[in-house]
Assembly symmetry: D2
Homo-oligomer: 289 residues x 4
Amino acid sequence: MQGIDNFKSIIDKYKVIFFDAFGVLKTYNGLLPGIERTFAYLKEQGKEYYIVTNDASRSPAQLAESYHREGLNFISADRIVSSGMLTKEYLDLKVRDGIVAYLGTRNSAHYIERSGLITLPVSEINDSNIDKVNALIFLDDEGFDWFADLNKTVNLIRKRTIPVIVANTDRAYPLTVSDVSIAIGGIAAMVESVVGKQFIRFGKPDSQMFMFAYDLVRASAPISKSEIVMVGDTLNTDILGGNKFGLDTVLVLSGNTLAKDVNTRITAMGIVPTYICNSAVIEGDDLGF
Amino acid sequence: MQGIDNFKSIIDKYKVIFFDAFGVLKTYNGLLPGIERTFAYLKEQGKEYYIVTNDASRSPAQLAESYHREGLNFISADRIVSSGMLTKEYLDLKVRDGIVAYLGTRNSAHYIERSGLITLPVSEINDSNIDKVNALIFLDDEGFDWFADLNKTVNLIRKRTIPVIVANTDRAYPLTVSDVSIAIGGIAAMVESVVGKQFIRFGKPDSQMFMFAYDLVRASAPISKSEIVMVGDTLNTDILGGNKFGLDTVLVLSGNTLAKDVNTRITAMGIVPTYICNSAVIEGDDLGF
Amino acid sequence: MQGIDNFKSIIDKYKVIFFDAFGVLKTYNGLLPGIERTFAYLKEQGKEYYIVTNDASRSPAQLAESYHREGLNFISADRIVSSGMLTKEYLDLKVRDGIVAYLGTRNSAHYIERSGLITLPVSEINDSNIDKVNALIFLDDEGFDWFADLNKTVNLIRKRTIPVIVANTDRAYPLTVSDVSIAIGGIAAMVESVVGKQFIRFGKPDSQMFMFAYDLVRASAPISKSEIVMVGDTLNTDILGGNKFGLDTVLVLSGNTLAKDVNTRITAMGIVPTYICNSAVIEGDDLGF
Amino acid sequence: MQGIDNFKSIIDKYKVIFFDAFGVLKTYNGLLPGIERTFAYLKEQGKEYYIVTNDASRSPAQLAESYHREGLNFISADRIVSSGMLTKEYLDLKVRDGIVAYLGTRNSAHYIERSGLITLPVSEINDSNIDKVNALIFLDDEGFDWFADLNKTVNLIRKRTIPVIVANTDRAYPLTVSDVSIAIGGIAAMVESVVGKQFIRFGKPDSQMFMFAYDLVRASAPISKSEIVMVGDTLNTDILGGNKFGLDTVLVLSGNTLAKDVNTRITAMGIVPTYICNSAVIEGDDLGF
């Protein structure tokens, strides 16, 4: 049985910290009280940090702004790595022209737009333009009519042999203390099983997310994976993905994984974090207040 | 490589014929032209026949009526075995009282109603009645708001430890010559993977469907499984299920399985019908016209 | 949270009792102490009982004898329903001639032998007889060389489009208080995923097992499913299968499911037994001793 | 329907070529006749190339030597990226001390050895050393007793909550023109489903393989992903993985994917290569001979 470690003494051992967002920095109630102390400390100590998040509903700039609105100014757009960014990189590299059809809000599609590519919601695909559709993206669970547009999506994929990208691997996300919502990753899995084709997924635990962040870190100075620690609340995304990429990992108990279940879950899933902490908040005591 | 057999000479060898409905007796265009000749011949020869269908959207009486409207009067309600009937039997045996919540049209729910049980669409479940919900049924893909009610369904299942029944195992069904619709079985599979619990499924290829039909046949006279043949258009439901139950099977090429793909698919899936026929229609020539 | 019920007062309510074998009547240590009192009581009360077991390693006669050797004479061969019996029924109905290749001990194959069919271990299949192989059966995890014969099995299935039958759905079975063994169902699942074809599986939770037992009961007198109760130690085989077939179910805590985990597991899996009992042993106190 | 492209004119467009090994450079018969012309041309044109292979049975040096023995001297150890190398990196970063238990030949384990770590075959794990086992690796399908050691492996994983690494994701590999062998990836999938824990897998299509190769390329000079092309014979490893990483891809028809099936398979799987070529061999004609 693993004991509970002190978060500050862990991050003291690493040069770079990767943080998951939901369940680690914030919950459905807003920011975790005291989380700004953690970032103030990281700044003061000259440590680098990145937010590594399964989110394709908004651009990095919009994600950063959402932290600023709540008073956390430490998180700038260039410190955010999202599954939406991997999706954009994929489109830039692999889809030269034509239409990219998507499921999600208009806003979620703004970020993947670029010159030479037409971005259209699935609802606007019809017989006159279907032959120009060169990719389909599952971006967000909102912004479309599930019944009409999911049925339309199934038939689009049956008719066109094109890459289908799932921009967020999560199957559900928390909405309130007691309720969850089906995420676009869950919807995509249904469509995949109905059409029997294989989709391309971006998001933790896949190592491509971690590599994207690792490349950002290395852009300024060389660093070994052993100097980076990943902090997350979910065993089968943050911890499994971090471990596999070769990082040390911290499981925090402020989100998906509750203190009462943590040891049972680790044993049942066989996914072992390097450390377990109550949360990513550094207590005033630890800072000598 | 299997050759194509003559349908009439096959049914001459059996006492009882089980038919799948969609792709065998009818398509999105209505009845298969000439299919009435098959039933006239069966009647004339004193053979028994049953329709064994993954359908919970209507009662057997309503299903029979839909054949009568198209002019096929040979199919009466007592010759229909549907996955909806298994669902009703389950509720009658296993759910004593309280509320049965469902996804589907009001009409699909009429058939499962009975005294002592309150049948409510998921949209009408709320904090005041959730504690009385004793079962949840996936009946039909229509009749509800996918976004609102599927999210509500996920949370209902997370909060109540109750049996969840999927009244139709199909993941999709044909709508036109080129389009399909997501079926309630596909939707249920998504919800199941989001909540991580195990649902109860009724429908082919599960042997309970075949047993229900077999019990109906045996009610009048004893019969061996070797005297029954199952006719279907889909390898992994009709043929797999019929084979497993111990019946001989006929794959017809009038629906899901096309003549050009049939041998590739049989080899790829490893599901082998006893016979292959172009369709279940008996040609005038065969009858000596 | 479900409470613990008294086993005797439950079986007093039913006419027929179906028992799982391992974890209910016996463990790796032999018979459950006192289990003979349960059967003496059933006999005295004129209740019917059947053993419904995922086992294809021995014939019903051999299985019955194994109880007699331990001093439990109440269990005769005609009260045993095994997944091996379904396998035999399948072969009798569906495989007319040729060779049935198998993985398992010579003894496990004796029971499926019949005139007109040649039963050969996979190790004896070669270029001269492979074209006559008309079925392949996974019978038992012992009696063959896993490396040589599983590789040979994969290639046999790739070369011959034949039914592949898995005579026991279990993936593992307990060997000692701390160790398990990989069961033939686990081995078959690996081979299935390597060859990409669909196998036919016999065993709980599939309803065909329960139907076989139900047919035996009905052979002497008509009975409703509501008069039968299934007693088992495993949620996703005994209880799921019993529930789905429409039977009331008793989960006993003498095998796979431990008292400390029972409520967590029921909630996690969403499989709900009608009753929970410590074991299927009737205490002397209950009998008025 | 995609047409067949000329291999030389494709590689003329890229700076770096990644090659799969089996089915592209060699088959069970040895090297593809003429493949040395391809490498001579790449050398002459100053293009970089790497072999990206799901293989953990030998070290890069041994893999290179196997090409040299057949007369292909262009492939040196530093041009090979194998799933075994990712496994070694994982152990170096994540397993500090104790025992690493493995399934595979003694030779396959040499490469992962390092000071401070004891490498033991599963057969040598016993009650006296099991508590020191800190990782388990599936390396190769040979070198151990499947029956004894796979059962031992299942129980080791049940008793120790440790990372389990699968050093090769392939489920099968070709042995002769007509036969395949079960690969360690297939064996690992069986053990994973029996124990219900989540393993760590290294190998294509996972992007970590491509990133490892990409990092090697970038070590000498900066390069964009758009300047690299991946050449492989398997849609769901080489092509899916290459596409997802953002590379252009060439499907060759000299291995797993046959000319007669290629368009059916692309449509069925929804995995689309940038180009299709008969093989990676450059014809003399193309070189102006």
